[in-house]
Symmetry: C2
Subunit: 199 residues, 2 copies
DNA sequence: AGGTTATTTAATAGGGCTATTAAATGTCAA
DNA sequence: TTGACATTTAATAGCCCTATTAAATAACCT
């Protein structure tokens, strides 16, 4: 039942965020009494943090555990951008939850910092930075930074999923059309970034 | 006092969204009794919609009221991207509010559709589309669509401001550094898009 | 001033929420 | 079987919230 509560809470939190999800709803979805939620997690805040931390860790790990370290820079970059995109596609509501919580609740920032500092292996990032610097020296890539590239990647990929309600709502397109658009963006976002770093 | 309530509500809604803002807080910030909020707007929902509609209208109008219709395509695009960026810089919390409300409350989508259909002049967009098609025929721009370009622009510009809590929180940088980063992104986002449409 | 309307306040109904508590039920080993 | 412990439930305290109502105050017109 503890697992059922976690699963129900995860779904609801991802759907509606912390503030709009009540422990009563979580209990109903998990199929138990509302007091049980508090028996296992004492507070709604605890329950949320457990899920939030787990999700962020999963997300960051998926990004930094890279098995393409031997690829040349452009290929590696393409691989990373698409890996990032794919994690988002499997967790389309996660970026919104993260943005939402970090924006409305300063407390969450500490949690995020902790995870980033203690749980994430940054060596792959360093490796990419080194490859990039090499390319710049060779003149095959214009002078730029991994920070800039990462910003562009995050922006383009995340917005694809965060903007879904706007896109689907305003253009009212079918689910098939949306899937097609997703596939298109997966290619397009890579293309934009690769072109943007040309000398 | 009605204006004071509107102003207070706008600030609080932008800060914390609809659900996390109470009419009591609004009243306190406006310097009046909480019942007065309901006297003027009957419901919190009404008050929110008034503000939300006004903000979206302002935002969309700033984007589509373009005075650079005689510029060549690339110059016009650069102008638009920076205009978009500047509206966001003046309303840094607006995109988050829009995303937040459209994501958590389907009702808002109707409001948005209404505004887009009735209040926004789409001729400048058509004009840009025509210029783009011309460039593509000439071969000076790779085959693409205004939709793709707009997505990239929105993603890059919006993320600059939406991600502020993450960037400032994780990297803990000073306000000056942040301002510098903003200025950098204003250039960079243009550069990325212009490079991304090269043949 | 006196009357009418607009504005503002105090008080409160009514509802949902989190968290706690005490009691009931299940589990399982000795 | 019984005792100890884990799980689950019902009930409720205590908050904060929205919205309403009735009464008080201000503003304005004649």
């Amino acid at each position: 039942m503890e697992q059922a509560i976690l699963a129900a809470a995860e779904e609801l939190f991802l759907d509606r965020g912390f503030a709009l999800t009540s422990t009563v709803e979580i209990a109903k979805k998990a199929g138990c009494n509302q007091a049980l939620v508090h028996y296992y997690f004492r507070t709604k805040e605890n329950l949320f943090q457990a899920i939030f931390a787990r999700k962020i860790k999963m997300f960051m790990t998926a990004l930094t555990s890279m098995d393409q370290l031997d690829l040349p820079f452009e290929k590696a970059l393409e691989y990373i951008i698409q890996a990032h995109f794919d994690v988002l596609a499997s967790n389309p509501r996660l970026p919104f939850l993260i943005l939402n919580e970090l924006t409305t609740n300063p407390k969450r920032i500490e949690a995020l910092k902790d995870i980033l500092q203690n749980e994430i292996d940054l060596r792959p990032v360093m490796h990419m930075q080194a490859l990039l610097d090499q390319e710049i020296r060779k003149g095959t890539v214009r002078p730029t930074t991994m920070m800039d590239i990462a910003m562009a990647m995050a922006a383009l990929n995340v917005m694809t999923f965060v903007a879904r309600p706007i896109i689907c709502g305003v253009l009212d397109i079918s689910d098939d059309d949306y899937q097609e658009m997703i596939a298109h963006r997966r290619q397009e976002n890579v293309a934009i970034i690769l072109r943007s770093i040309r000398p």
